[in-house]
Symmetry: D2
Amino acid sequence: MKEKPNVTVWNEFRHEKTDEKVQQVYPHGIHNTIADFLKTAGFPTRTATLDEPEHGLTDAVLDETDVLIWWGHMAHDEVKDSIVDRVQKRILEGMGLIVLHSGHYSKIFRRMMGTTCNLRWREIGEKERVWTVANGHPIARGVGRFFEIPHAEMYGEFFDIPEPDVLVFVSWFAGGDIFRSGCCWQRGFGRVFYFSPGHETYPIYKDPNVQQVIINACDWAAEHEKPEIAFGQVPEPLENIDGRQ
Amino acid sequence: MKEKPNVTVWNEFRHEKTDEKVQQVYPHGIHNTIADFLKTAGFPTRTATLDEPEHGLTDAVLDETDVLIWWGHMAHDEVKDSIVDRVQKRILEGMGLIVLHSGHYSKIFRRMMGTTCNLRWREIGEKERVWTVANGHPIARGVGRFFEIPHAEMYGEFFDIPEPDVLVFVSWFAGGDIFRSGCCWQRGFGRVFYFSPGHETYPIYKDPNVQQVIINACDWAAEHEKPEIAFGQVPEPLENIDGRQ
Amino acid sequence: MKEKPNVTVWNEFRHEKTDEKVQQVYPHGIHNTIADFLKTAGFPTRTATLDEPEHGLTDAVLDETDVLIWWGHMAHDEVKDSIVDRVQKRILEGMGLIVLHSGHYSKIFRRMMGTTCNLRWREIGEKERVWTVANGHPIARGVGRFFEIPHAEMYGEFFDIPEPDVLVFVSWFAGGDIFRSGCCWQRGFGRVFYFSPGHETYPIYKDPNVQQVIINACDWAAEHEKPEIAFGQVPEPLENIDGRQ
Amino acid sequence: MKEKPNVTVWNEFRHEKTDEKVQQVYPHGIHNTIADFLKTAGFPTRTATLDEPEHGLTDAVLDETDVLIWWGHMAHDEVKDSIVDRVQKRILEGMGLIVLHSGHYSKIFRRMMGTTCNLRWREIGEKERVWTVANGHPIARGVGRFFEIPHAEMYGEFFDIPEPDVLVFVSWFAGGDIFRSGCCWQRGFGRVFYFSPGHETYPIYKDPNVQQVIINACDWAAEHEKPEIAFGQVPEPLENIDGRQ
C-alpha cells in the first residue's frame, strides 16, 4: 500500500501573535489547524514557522518533506532569499508545493511562477462559490460540482500567473468577480498547486470541503517519480554513434 | 497592409422564420446582423444557411472562406454529415472556425473537440459579466478588464471540452454560476474559438463589446501559416543517412 | 491497496491470420502477447477482436473495462461507426484509451482527436531511441532517460494531433527523423495515451521497456475520478439567488 | 500598415574579445551579426552588451524596446540582479524576450521559467536537423518541414523547463539525441521564445533558416496587447452589487 507522504505546513505565524480576532479563529496558529486535519487524514505532518532558525526549513526538514504547504501574508519580505533558494531547489527535485490564499505573494510562489502573481481583492465577507472545471481531476475528489464558502475575502482577476497546466477550480463571488482559484503546474520534478480560499479571520480552514481539497492536493503533489538519473549541464557520456564530423 | 480575411457567417436560420420574438430582435436573421457589423469592420463577408443547397457550404464557398462563424440551435441534427466532413477538412487545412453560443452542440464543434460539449443552462435573463483572464490576448483587445451583458441565458460548468489551449474569458452570472466563455484551440492548421455569449431573443449580437470580440476573433482565427508541404501518410522521400540495417 | 484496473486489449487480428512473417512474431496475435504481459503484471485482462460480434466490444464488456488498448492497421474502415460511438461514449465517461502504433489512423483515435492524425512513415528497420521529456511523469517510470528499439518502423512529423496535454516521449530515428511518440490527453472524464512504438513484424511488444510503458500507461489511464453528478444539458436545479430580472 | 517592432540585441560580448576562433566567425560580435540581418529585415534594431553601464539596459533603452534578444555564455553571473529585475518587469509588462542557445542558463531565462533550465550537451560538430512540430505557427513561417545545420553543438534532454505553451521545433542530432529546440511561453503580458540553435564558433547565425526563425520570432514576440487597465494588488473600485454580508 502506498504510504501517505510527509507534509510540512509552513506559516509565517505573525497575525496569530498580535491580532485578537485571528487568535479567536486560530488560537494555535493556522499551521496547527491545517496540520491537525492532515494528521487525522493519515499524513505524517510537521509544522515550521518564520521565526524559527532557518524559518524551520533546514536541509534536514526539507529532505524529509514530500509536500510543503505555504501560508504567509504580512511578512513575505522577511523570508530570507537563501531559504527560498533552498526550497525552490527541493521543489525542482520533486517536493510538492501547495500555496494557500495570500501566499500568492510569497517569494517562493513568485519564484516558481516567474510572474508578479498580482491580483485584485475586496474584503466584505461576501459569498464564494467554488466550481470544479477540471474533468475528474484528483484534487476535486469528493467536493462535488461546486461548494460554497459563506463569507470570504474576494480574490479577483486579472491574476498574473502562467497559464495553469490544469485549471481545477474557478470561484464565483457574490460581488461580481470570478477567480481561477485552483491551479496546477509542473516545475522540474515537482508539482505546484495554488488554492485561493482561506483567510486569517474567516474559519475557512475548518470548512470540510476546503480541508478535502487540501488533503487531495497533498496526495496529488506527492505523486511524482524520482528522477532516475541526475540531470544537469555535464558532458554527455553516451557513445556517439553516427555523429562524427 | 495585411488584407482582411474572408468571413462566412453560417446560421441555421429557423427561429427567425417561425418565432415572432426572434424576428423582432433579428428581422433579417442572426447571420445578417453579424455579417453587417463584420462588413462595417472591413471583412469581406458572406452568409450561408441550413436550407440552401449543401447548406450554402459548397466547396467553392469554403475555398474562399478564411474564417467560418457558426450559429445553430434547434436543427443541429439536420446538418448533413458529408457537409460536416467537408468543413472539418477545411478547418484542418487552415480555415478558422468561430462557434457561437448554442453552436456548442453543433455537429462540427463536437467533431472538432471529440467530446460531448455538454453544459448546463438556465434562462431567466440574469446579468452576465465577462472577465478577461488571458494576458493581453488579441481576442480580448478593446474590451477592458470585463464587460457586462445585462440580460443573458446562463451557460454553466461542467462544460465538457478539451482543456483550452488558451482560456480568454470566464463569465460570472448573477444567479451563481461561472462559465469558460471564451476558449481557443489549434486543430491541424486551423484555429477554433468558442464564444458563449449570444442568444436568439436577447440582442446580444448588437452589443458593442460582443461585436468587438467577434471582430477580434476573425482576425485571430485567420492568422495561420499555409502548410508549405502537404503532409500525410506517404512514403518518405528523404535520403536515409544513417539508418541502414 | 488500490486494485489493478480491468484492461481489454483490442486487435483487428488480420495480419496474424494471413501473413506468415507476422505469425512467426505473434503466433497468437498481438493482442495475446500484450494481454500476457499485462496479466503477469497483475491486470485482469481480456481481449477483443474485429471479427467477433460487435467487434467484441459489447456494452457488457465496455462496462467492465477500465482501460482499452487499441491495435489496428489494415482494416480501420471495417470498424462500425456504431461501435466507435459506443467506445467514445465510454471514454468520455471515464474509461482510459491507449492507442498503439498504426492505431493512430483508427476511427476511434481520429474521433477523440478531431484531426486527421496523419503522419509520415518509412520502413527500413532503422534504430529508434525513445527519449523521456516529461518531468517525472508516471508513464515514464522505470525506463530511464531513454531506451532503444534496435529495429523499428519510422513514424515522423508532422503528426497531425492536438497539442498534447503532456508530451512524455520524443523518438529519435537513425534515418534523420523525430516523432512525438508518447502523448497524453484528457477527454471528458477519460484519459487518452498514444504510444507509437510497435509493429507487426518487429518483436517490439516483447521489449521490456515497451512493456513497461504500456503497463505504466494502464495504471495512469485508469486514474480518474468518477463524475459525482451526471452532467448534461438539463435544467439547472440550483436555487437562483440573485439573478431575478 | 503594422510597424516593425524595435529590437534590442543583447550580448555578453566576451568570447569575441579574447578567442581568436570566435573573432574569425563573428569579428564584430554575435550581437552585430544578428542586428545586421534584423535591420535588413526592417526592424529598428540596437545592441547592448554586458560591459556597458547598466549592461546597456537602462530604463530608457528598455522603454523603447519591444523585443529583447539575449545571448550569453561564460559570464551569466556577472549580470547584476537589479538589471535582471528590471528586464523581468518589462517583460511582464509586455516586452518580448528571445533567448538564444547558451542563454538557457542566463539569470533572466531562469527567472522567467522558475526552473534550473539545465540540459545536456556535447560538442563534436555533429549535424542538427530542426523539425517543425507546431501546426502553422508563425515562428515556423518559411522554413519548411525541417531544415539542417551541418555542424552544431548538441543540446539534449532532459531540458528542465516548464512545459511550453507551444512546442514549435524539435531537433534531431546525428549523435543520437533529440531536443525541444523552439519553445513558446506567455509570462504576464510578455511573450518568451527559446531557440537553441546557435554557437560562438559555428556560423549558425549566418544561416538563412536560423535568421528566418529569429525574424519570425521578433514579429511574434511583439504581438501583445497593452494592458488597458493597470492591474495589481489594489482595492477594488467596482460597485458591490450583491455581496453585502
